[in-house]
């Protein structure tokens, strides 16, 4: 019984570790997409991040339940190597997440600025009619 519980917990921890790594991979992919202005890739990565994030939350809830709620009161320690890897992966992911957060804030600010520039435009735009027709079409106010 105890062995089964340990195996189950280790399996979940392994999945948790795998998800941390996948999440890191997705943050990496999203940052690349952002700097390349690759919108489709960014949207795709964010969708994956949301899936991984939900699953990580579920596993974290499950794995961090108080010992009293666990089926076996004193489950032996899980695979020590596994928890070390999770610890390292988690630390690294947090650092990566901070960079990702900074990049997001920076990009969001730039995009918000551009959107506000566009929304302040009150003239008429003539697009897709050849470069010659673009000469007197666009201006904006800051």
């Amino acid at each position: 019984m105890i062995e089964t519980v340990v195996q189950d917990r280790n399996r979940k921890l392994a999945e948790y570790l795998q998800l941390l790594r996948l999440m890191a991979f997705e943050l990496d992919r999203a940052m690349k997409a952002m700097v390349q202005n690759s919108l489709t890739a960014l949207e795709d990565s964010v969708a994956n991040q949301q899936v991984f994030s939900d699953r990580l939350g579920e596993l974290a809830d499950d794995l961090s339940r108080p010992a009293s709620e666990r089926p076996v009161p004193s489950a032996p320690d899980a695979d020590r190597g596994l928890t070390d890897q999770i610890s390292a992966a988690s630390d690294a992911l947090q650092n990566l997440n901070r960079r990702y957060s900074a990049l997001l804030k920076h990009s969001s600010h730039s995009v918000a600025l551009m959107v506000s520039l566009f929304s302040s435009f009150q003239g008429q735009m003539q697009e897709d009619s050849g470069p010659r027709l673009k000469q007197q079409t666009w201006s904006c106010q800051i």
Binding site: F25, L27, V35, L42, Q49, S108, E127, W138
Partner: protein, 453 residues
């Protein structure tokens, strides 16, 4: 370096790279309305991948430069069509002015022929009337003046085209000098690893202007952009421009010489210069030749009719019109001023009007060219009208082509504000979703620590 730690460097690179990418987008939007601006796209290079267990982590990206989005084939097509349209426009503009001298205004040849014919009809009815005889001479003088005026109008248009040759060559030299300088700047920037987009845009804009002036051949060579006239005369090679010159030729017209002093006038096609030269050396001379031939043949025919009769003094009719050997229409004149010298009589008797029929027949009988003077002149009018109309039609048709080509180039190289705006809003949405994930990961940290401790 592998594993998650590698991603820390990637993120750092990404922040720096993002600055460059955003700068490119901002520049695109700021120049959305700049004529000739070519959209720039950031160029990235992938760093090598690393692997941690079964997880492959990218090595990040570096911004290696900005690349202008250009379609060289489209640019060449636009230059070619621009040259053709400019040639047609030049011809259309001058021919429309010429055409006004061939329309019925009262002083034109058709009106003068009609008035001259009417005066002969009146003479037939009143052969003894001195006033009517004088009317024939006056209307003959008007007819000669109409030929003079029409010929002078054509010569004037030819002179206008000739002046345009000199002016256009000067404009070409100015542009080629500027293009050569920009070629040099592009080479220097490229060597220094800097962005050449703006300089290339400026150069492309000047090449576009140059294509209006003359037909061009543009090639990318190791020395930069090489530009020659259609027949291969170099105008720009790398950072060196080759000046064209003009000199007065044996025909009194301005001839174009290449940098080596060779006369390349006949080989210049298309553009304002090609159009002016074609008009000056082929189209207008063709009209002048026909007009001279008409004046000469009609003069010969009428003088022959005059010689068949006798004037009021009983003498054989002398020449009524005279034309010089060269420039018949311009130099046509009436040689007699005494009304009594009109050869009215067929037999020399007073009151006879027998020769008036011969004089009138000179206006309706076929000339050596096979047509009567009126028919031959109508044919010339038709040719002038057709030439003017063809030039205008050609210009309009090429204009349609150019519009399509410019639209295509706009979709390739231009900046679409609508598209940029839509993308920005999508980016905002994605960023907001990503920010929620960031928040979740932050919260996950303490949970993970509790979980494994």
């Amino acid at each position: 370096m592998g594993g998650l730690n590698a991603s820390l460097l990637i993120a750092s690179q990404a922040l720096q790279t993002m600055q460059g990418a955003i700068g490119a987008t901002s520049n695109n939007i700021a120049n959305a309305n700049t004529p000739g601006y070519t959209r720039e796209v950031p160029q990235f290079t992938e760093s090598p991948l690393s692997q941690n267990g079964n997880v492959v982590i990218g090595g990040g990206v570096n911004l290696t430069g900005l690349q202008s989005v250009r379609d060289q084939l489209l640019s060449l097509q636009i230059q070619n069509q621009t040259s053709l349209q400019s040639s047609a426009d030049t011809q259309s503009s001058i021919l429309q002015q010429v055409e006004t001298n061939f329309t019925t205004t009262g002083g034109d040849i058709t009106s003068a022929l009609s008035a001259f014919s009417s005066s002969l009809v009146r003479l037939s009815a009143n052969p003894l009337s001195s006033a009517v005889q004088q009317g024939v001479i006056s209307s003959g003088q008007n007819l000669a003046r109409a030929f003079n005026t029409t010929s002078n109008a054509l010569t004037s248009a030819q002179a206008g085209a000739d002046t345009q040759v000199t002016q256009t060559v000067a404009q070409i030299n100015t542009l080629t000098k500027q293009i050569a300088q920009l070629n040099g700047q592009v080479a220097q920037l490229t060597a220094a690893g800097k962005d050449t987009g703006t300089t290339q845009d400026q150069r492309d804009e000047l090449v576009q202007q140059l294509s209006k002036l003359t037909g061009l051949s543009v090639m990318q060579t190791s020395e930069g952009e090489t530009i020659t006239t259609g027949n291969g005369t170099p105008l720009v090679i790398g950072n060196q421009s080759f000046t064209l010159q003009t000199t007065t030729g044996g025909d009194g017209m301005q001839h174009v010489l290449d940098y080596g002093g060779n006369d390349i006038t006949a080989s210049i096609k298309e553009g304002q210069l090609g159009g002016s030269i074609e008009l000056r050396d082929q189209v207008i001379p063709g009209f002048l030749t026909q007009l001279d031939s008409l004046a000469s043949e009609f003069t010969t025919s009428f003088n022959a009719a005059q010689a068949q009769g006798f004037d009021s003094k009983g003498n054989a009719g002398q020449s009524f019109f005279s034309v010089p050997a060269s420039g018949a229409a311009a130099g046509m004149s009436v040689t007699i001023s005494d009304p009594a010298l009109v050869a009215i009589s067929s037999d020399g008797s007073e009151g006879s009007n027998g020769n008036v029929a011969n004089l009138s027949a000179a206006l309706t009988a076929p000339l050596p060219s096979g047509q009567s003077v009126s028919q031959a002149y109508a044919y010339l009018v038709d040719q002038v009208g057709t030439a003017a109309s063809d030039a205008k039609t050609q210009s309009t048709a090429i204009g349609q082509n150019l519009l399509q080509l410019n639209n295509q180039q706009g979709s390739v190289s231009g900046v679409s504000i609508d598209e940029e705006t839509t993308n920005l809003i999508r980016f905002q949405t994605a960023y907001q979703a990503a920010a929620r994930v960031v928040s979740t990961i932050q919260q996950l940290n303490s949970v993970t620590i509790n979980m494994i401790s």
